[in-house]
Structures are given as structure tokens and as C-alpha cells.
């Protein structure tokens, strides 16, 4: 696509960033600038202390206009965080945003070669020369406008899913809410009371469920699961099944995953599963709900049961608060119930959970610390459950005869998480929680138009899950108001004359963006294509071009890598 009259040898501007001392103290920046000026195609080269600062961007914008620059090379940091702002600098000075190429001379050069300035400078020259070679061949690109289906699928009817469904439905979006259980509510259905309000979980949930059920924009599918998802952000095709039968097909523009997590049932750990007096917090919630605590005089809770160990090194965030809350409730139920919480580190954080800790201690709950190297032992002796633990505080072993041992076990990802991860191409962490794209964008995920909230992403409490549900709601709502979305310049195009119809690309494409046409030739749907390049790399006929990473561009970059002459 030709956007403007293009000269055969476009004028390239090179901007070398010092990043304060981060690049400037390692790489000889003036030498690099002088070198850049000699590279073929370079019409202008300069340096700045912070190219990404407002003043740095203004200088770039000014130079583009003043020197009639047609391509831009920014030798600075990673395009991952900074490409967008240099693209916007191009746009502000009338240059197409896809005519900028970044040379990463920080993460991939000055940071890793801190001890060898000279070699780092030579490498930076190579990187700049390569970037210029590619930049000269960059083509302008106007993003196609793709209509986004305004409907949204929410998978999971726990509080995080409910809060995102409700907030989006309030804005007028049509929501398909799919829940595998017969009833909505998720984990909160099984809980007794919630901290910090100490209200009945069911009562808090009811008010939310009423709003969801009354909302005409929410279509609820209980006892259902997502069978398949095809397509991409603009238009996902979803199949819902119930009792093994496909019950409905519909199209949505975005998908919110809120499938929650499970509480670990630690069979074998501390005698769990061998004696009905050894239970987990979830069982205790059930007992509290049913007032099923007759004859219980001593309750011993053991924290980090199955977490913060080699198998699951993570802290599950909610267990200390849950134990404190339930301990407090037990003491309120009867002052004759003695409650001991055996813990490693007491994970109360922030204002509310610190208050919970204090109130629980004031109600006479005893906290006993254990060390990693001497965890508590649970045994059945003469028909009694006996817990022994070494207390470093008093430097003694303590022994408890417990009527109930309550294990505080962590949240673990649900079994169906992996299946959804595959279906939606979402990365998971080593334990199976879904992973966000970046820490500072905790609500953005690898697949555009797919979001995760609540405990499916990481352990968190109900209040935090509700906030996260709203947060992804905010992200998902973004497309509502543009109704169209753009896509980057990188996408695959198949040369139908070269394609042999072998279908390798179809099988490999992670975006399901390639199909065979009526005569057996592969065709890409550019709306779906993520521009990853897997198809082009595997095509035996070399029939596939990845725009913005064309063979010509990469070849020029490679030739520049091995030919150190600046060629001017």
C-alpha cells in the first residue's frame, strides 16, 4: 500500500538516546552518532539525553519536519515499552507511524556489556546499521478499520465475573454469562461470612445476583461450558455446550475469563482424608454455616498447608485472613472454644486485614509461629488428634489435643484452566494461573480482546476480585466507543501463485487466521492474523510475506549485520 510519493532512497534520521547514564556511560554516544551519519541512507543523526522525554520527542518531531526525514531509527531501549511513543512522534509530524525502527542499544547492549565500553560501542554501531538497513525498506501502512462485535462473553459466574458482567451490562453491552454450575455465585456460595464486613456471604452475594438476574442485557447460561472459540477480537465464534450437547452458538467481540480457582484438598498432608476431624477451611465454613460444631472445644489451624513449599512456592494471600476471620467467629460462637493458629508468617496486609488480626488476637485466639524447618506434626494418639509444633518464641515443643484440625490450604488453578488457555491462547504461569502481559498492565493479556480477572489470575479475596472484574470491564469497554479497531502493520499475506496448498501454515497458525479457499489455496484473514510469522517461516514455497518483517527487510538487516562497512 503506497501512502505517499516514495523516493527510492528515503532519508533516514537516526536518534541515539543516552538514557541518562544508562546508555551514555557505557556506549560512546558521540562516536555512534558520527558513525550513523556515514551509514548509507542516513540524512541526519543526533543524540539526546532522554529521547523519550517530552523535550526529546519534540526534538524528533522538529527534526522530521526540518530535515524532511522519511524514515526514523531510534537507538534507545526496547520497543516493547517505547515504540508507541516514537510512533506517535512520527504521526505528530506527519510521518506514517510504521516508518520507525528501534535499535535496542540498552537492554541488548549497554546493560549487558557494562564492563566493555569499546565492544559495546562497536555492537551499538552494528545494531544501528542493521536498523537503518531495515528502516530504508519500511513501508507506510494504514490500519484497516474492523468493526468489533459489541457483545461480550463472560466465562464464570463468581464475584469477579459477576462484577464485570454487571458493570458492562450497565453500559449497555449484551453479555453472555456462562457458568458451569447450576447456580451463579462461585466460591462465595460455599463461604459462611466475609471479612471485613462479617456479613453472611450469601447475603452479600444475593444483592449482586439480584442485579445480575434482573439485568435485561445479561443472558445467563448455567450448567454450561464453553466448547469452542474461533476467531479473534473483532468477532469470536463461541459454542456453548450443556450435558455434552451444543446448546448455543453466538458471536462476541471480547471474552472475559473469570473461572476462579479451587481450594486445594491436600490428601495425605497432616492426615487430611484419614480422619474426619482433620479438615480444610472450606469444610469449616460449611460447619459454621450449618452450626455443626457440637462438642468442639479446641480448634488448631495450620497455615501454609500445601503452599510456600517447594511444590507451590507462592503465598495464597487469603488463607491468613480466612483463618483469622474463622477463628474470631469461633470465639464469638463460644468463649469455651480455644483456637490456635499455627503459622509461618502472618500475612495480614493493609488497614482492614491488620484490624482483623488485632481483633482476633483481642478475642483470645492464640497465634503460634512455626519455622520452615520444623513444621507441625499431626498424629492420632489413643483416638485423639494430637498436634505437636516447636515454638521458636518460647523455644519449646507444644502439644495440643484438638477436636478439629483445620488446614489453611491454598487456592490452586481449576482443571479447566489449561483447556481455556489453549482455546484462547493465554499464557499460564508454572502453576496454571493465567499470566498478564506486563506488570504495569495487569489487565492486558497476550490475546487481544481476551481478559482474565479474579482468582483465575492469582489468589485474591472477594473484594479484590470484584475490583478486578470492574477493571477488566473498563478495558473491555474501550472498544465499544470506537467500534472499530486498528491492527499493527505486521500481518501475513499469501502469494496465491506460489502457494501449493500443502496446509502446513493452517496447522501451525496460532491465531486460526488461515483457511483454504475453494480451490485449495491458503488465505489469511488479516483481521485475525497476529503477525507472529510462524507461517512464513514454515512455508516450503516461501509464498508468505509478513508485512513489516518482509524477507527483503530482514535480508537487508542481516546483510548489514555481516557487512560492517557503512557503505557511504
Amino acid at each position: 500500500m503506497n501512502m505517499s510519493a516514495e523516493s527510492s532512497s528515503p532519508r533516514v534520521g537516526v536518534f541515539v538516546c543516552r538514557c541518562g547514564v544508562d546508555i551514555g556511560d557505557v556506549i560512546d554516544v558521540p562516536a555512534l552518532v558520527e558513525y550513523a551519519k556515514k551509514v548509507q541512507g542516513v540524512a541526519y543523526a543526533t543524540e539526546d539525553s532522554f529521547a523519550c522525554s517530552t523535550s526529546g520527542l519534540e526534538k524528533i518531531e522538529d527534526a522530521i519536519k526540518r530535515h524532511n526525514l522519511e524514515r526514523l531509527v531510534v537507538a534507545a531501549c526496547t520497543p516493547r515499552t517505547h515504540e508507541a511513543i516514537f510512533q506517535s512522534a512520527c504521526e505528530r509530524s506527519g510521518l506514517n507511524k510504521y516508518l520507525v525502527e528501534m535499535a535496542n542499544i540498552r537492554e541488548q547492549c549497554s546493560w549487558v556489556h557494562r564492563d566493555d565500553s569499546q565492544a559495546a560501542t562497536e555492537k551499538a554501531k552494528d545494531l544501528v546499521r542493521m536498523a537503518v538497513a531495515k528502516a530504508r525498506l519500511l513501508q507506510p501502512w494504514k490500519e484497516p478499520e474492523i468493526k468489533v462485535n459489541p457483545n461480550i462473553l463472560v466465562v464464570g459466574g463468581g464475584v469477579s465475573g459477576l462484577s464485570s458482567a454487571l458493570s458492562l451490562a450497565d453500559l449497555g453491552f449484551k453479555i453472555y454469562l456462562v457458568e458451569k454450575e447450576a447456580e451463579l455465585g462461585g466460591m462465595l456460595k460455599s463461604l459462611h461470612k466475609l471479612s471485613p464486613t462479617m456479613r453472611d456471604s450469601s447475603e452479600s452475594l444475593e444483592s449482586m445476583l439480584r442485579l445480575v438476574e434482573q439485568n435485561p442485557n445479561i443472558e445467563i447460561h448455567t450448567s454450561s461450558r464453553v466448547k469452542s472459540v474461533e476467531g479473534a477480537i473483532s468477532n469470536f465464534e463461541v459454542e456453548i455446550e450443556s450435558d455434552g450437547k451444543v446448546v448455543e452458538r453466538f458471536n462476541v467481540g471480547r471474552i472475559i475469563v473469570a473461572i476462579g480457582a479451587e481450594i486445594l484438598k491436600p490428601h495425605g498432608l497432616y492426615g487430611y482424608g484419614h480422619d474426619k476431624r482433620i479438615i480444610i477451611q472450606l469444610d469449616l465454613e460449611e460447619k459454621l454455616k450449618n452450626n455443626d460444631l457440637k462438642g468442639v472445644g479446641t480448634v488448631v489451624m495450620i497455615q501454609c498447608a500445601g503452599s510456600r513449599n517447594d511444590e507451590r512456592p507462592y503465598c495464597s494471600r487469603i488463607c491468613c485472613n480466612t483463618a483469622l476471620k474463622n477463628a474470631q467467629i469461633l470465639r464469638e460462637l463460644s468463649p469455651d472454644i480455644d483456637v490456635y493458629i499455627i503459622y509461618k508468617d502472618l500475612i495480614t496486609y493493609g488497614v482492614e486485614s491488620s484490624a482483623l488480626e488485632l481483633n482476633t488476637k483481642r478475642r483470645g485466639v492464640k497465634l503460634i509461629r512455626y519455622r520452615d524447618e520444623s513444621p507441625p506434626e499431626v498424629a492420632i494418639e489413643d483416638g485423639s488428634v494430637v498436634v505437636k509444633v516447636f515454638s521458636p518464641t518460647i523455644n519449646e515443643e507444644m502439644t495440643f489435643r484438638a477436636d478439629l484440625v483445620v488446614l489453611s490450604t491454598p487456592l490452586v488453578p481449576r482443571g479447566e484452566a489449561s483447556e481455556l488457555a489453549r482455546m484462547l491462547k493465554l499464557p499460564q504461569d508454572p502453576f496454571g494461573f493465567f499470566k498478564e502481559a506486563h506488570q504495569l498492565s495487569p489487565l492486558d493479556f497476550a490475546t487481544e480482546g481476551v481478559y482474565v480477572c479474579g482468582t483465575a489470575r492469582a489468589p485474591k479475596d472477594a473484594v479484590e476480585s470484584i475490583s478486578e472484574g470492574l477493571g477488566v470491564g473498563s478495558k473491555a469497554a474501550e472498544y465499544k466507543f470506537s467500534r472499530i479497531r486498528g491492527r499493527g502493520a505486521a500481518f501475513a499475506e499469501i502469494n496465491e501463485k506460489k502457494c501449493s496448498g500443502c496446509g502446513i501454515c493452517i496447522e501451525l497458525c496460532p491465531y486460526n487466521a488461515i483457511r483454504k479457499d475453494e480451490i485449495g489455496i491458503s488465505r489469511t484473514d488479516s483481521a485475525l492474523c497476529g503477525g507472529c510469522g510462524v507461517c512464513a517461516a514454515s512455508c516450503p514455497e516461501r509464498a508468505i510475506t509478513i508485512h513489516h518483517f518482509t524477507d527483503d527487510q530482514l535480508e537487508a538487516q542481516l546483510l548489514a549485520a555481516i557487512d560492517r562497512r557503512p557503505r557511504k
Partner: protein, 440 residues
Amino acid sequence: MDESVLVIGGGVAGIQASLDLANRGIKVHLVEKAPFIGGVMAQLDKTFPTMNCCICILEPKMIECYRHPKITVHTLSEVTEVGGSKGNFKVKVIERPRFVDTSRCTRCGACIEKCPVTVPDEFQAGFESRKAIYIPFPQAVPYAPSIDKGSCLHFGGGGCIVCEEACPTGAIKYEQDPRTVSLNVSSIIVATGFEQYDPKEMGEYGYKRYDNVITPLEFERLVSPYGPTGGELTRPSDGKIAKRIAFIQCVGSRSHRPGIGVPYCSGICCMYAAKEAVTIKEKYPDSEVTIFYIDIKAFSRDFQNLINKARDEMGVEYIRGKPGEIRENPLTKDLYIWYEDTDTGEIGRKEVDLAILSAALLPRNENTRLAQVLGVDLDEFGFFKVEDPFLSSLETTRDGIYVCGCCHGPRDISNSVVEASAAAMKATTGTRLTAEGSGG
């Protein structure tokens, strides 16, 4: 008329809330009391647990926010009046002048160079000085000088006009007056952040008495490559590289001593201490780093990994126990930390070059005034109170006014950003957008 939302506070939470709203086509007025946006995060070296450079992540967001056609940034501004109700708040904002005409200023820096006044630079935690006319750091947004009226000689009655004379474009405008801006907004998001506890209150640790006892924010500037030392961890007393470093956790937090500190856990100190310890060990592998703690609170995904890395891979020593006292050797300025290891019951003395007091996160002092203006309640500590911690955890006691980030209790960057998006969502339902939403 376009519906719009007022966001108070230009730190990472306020910026994220503004961007979320603006990207949905809603007009935003972002009110920041400082001359520049970015808040505390702009001063921090790295994020935890991913150890990314803070300013590298924040800078693009600051610029996107400042340049966004739907966002108006009001710097040096404060909200003075809020009338009306949800859907139709009538807000008055006082905008104080920077005494620089930003449309004329070419950012040449002549004014700053010539200014005869030097004062401690708060952005560099006082380790450096700045001029009375200044830009706090190279990536500051907006990038235009501002005159700090309190220290400027012109306003101090000295009649100084050095910067005006130095300016080649006539951009210095001493005559600029504060102006009151009237806004109509449908909802309000409060994102005013936190304040660091002043550890002077705990005299036993000698902050401000001993040169080499510092706060975490001071430490962040010392290790930042963009800080006063270019990232070298030099100790304040003699400029020597600190090789023996101790962190004391829960300084001012989890305190039940009458009149000292706050009873709550500040939530982030365990993680920033681990991050800072790793930063030191990566830069100076031969250094000895000790962290004195009560409980290690690594309560989010990947947090424990960072603790494990610090302790098991990098050799950071964790001692369970809150030191009783720090004493200084008056000759060497070395510090002696007296403590009881509560795991063993042994009393010990640790000699270090530098001690960092992991100070509590407090509500901002000015919350009292702002709460009055907004007509909302504060909690017993002075954080903004939420209406119902379960169903409406981001809603203040006044309908249509929402909170996010540390203004309603300590939280980390990641949580603040999630909440910012959530608050933006709440504020949007308040803008009465419909199914076929006009959105602006």
C-alpha cells in the same frame, strides 16, 4: 455538552484512571497539585517483583496522558469546591501559575542556569539541590520550568529578575495570577496517594541524627541511575560505597506503642526491601545485606520467588526481630544495630555502613481538607473511607465519588493500577452512557 470526569491526583493511579476513561471517549480533567505529574512512582528505581525500571514504564503513560486529546491536565492545582451531586457535580479548581508561558518557552534552560537560588531538590530526596525555577527531572511531564514561589527571590521581595532577563523568548511571567476553573463533571475519582512516615518519631533509630540512616525513598534515589549519584550506593556521611547494609522493617507500621506510628501493616515494605536488597547484591555482589523483619509478607503471585531469590540465591540475610536501637560510631559514622533474633532468642549487634528504615505508608495530611471539600468521610487513620468494603469497595461515602490507589490504604503499583481501571469503570456507569453510547 460532553460528560466528563474529574480525577484528583496525577500519580500512576490517577494517570491510569484518566487513560482508561479517555480511551473510552470520556473527557477527563486531571488535577495535580505539583507542577508535574507522575507522583511517587516517578521517583522509584525499580518495580517489584519484575525488577523493571519504573520511569521507563511510567514515562510513556505520562506522555500519553498529557498529550491525550480527551485529557486536560491541571498542574499546580487543587480542588476547592464541590457542589451538586452524582451526574452533575459543580467543581471549582484553583490553578496556580508556574510563572512561565509554556507556549513561548523553548526549554533552553537559560533561566534555570542563571537562577541564583538553590534549595534542596525534593525529587532527589534532598541529596541534590535545584534552583527556584526548575524542572525536577529530564523526563518530567509537562516538560517546562516552573517557579517555586516560596523560594524565588522575585516573590521574596528581593526584586530579582535574573530569569526574566535570561529568557530569550520572554516566557517568564511573574504577573501570572492564580485562576479559578469551573468544571461540570458527572463523577469524581480520588487518587491522591500516600505520604511516607517520618521515622524521626522513632528516636531509637536515629533518623536525621545519624547521617547514614535513611528512608526507602531516599534509598530509591541513591540507587537510581538517574539519581544524584548516578546509581552508586554511596553513604551520605562520607560518599563511600556502602557495603554493609541493613533494612529495618515495620518502622512506624504494626506499632501498638501509644503515640508512635500506626497499627496496620503497610503491605508493600517486605517486597520493596527484597527488591532493594536484590538491587544492591546485583550491583555489589560482595556486599552484605541484612533484613530485620517481623513477618515476611510476600502475598502475591511471584512475590515469594523474589524473597527466595534474595535469601537463597543472592545471600541476603533475613533476621527475625525488630531491632531495639541503632547507635552511631561518631568517628567512622558506622552504625551498630542492636537486636534480638526471635528465632533463637539471641541478642546481637550488627555493624553496618548504611541502614534503611522501611517506613510506613500514611494517609496524606491534606486528606482532611480534601475530604471536607468533597463532603466525604475519612477512616480513623485519615484514609478515604469506603461506603461498603464488600459491594462498593471503591465508593466513598458520597455517591459519585470514587477512590483508587493508596488514598484509601496502602497497596502496590499493580493493585493501584487495577483499582484505577475499576474506579474508571464505576465512574463511567455514573456518566449515564447508554447502550448505543455516545461516549464523547
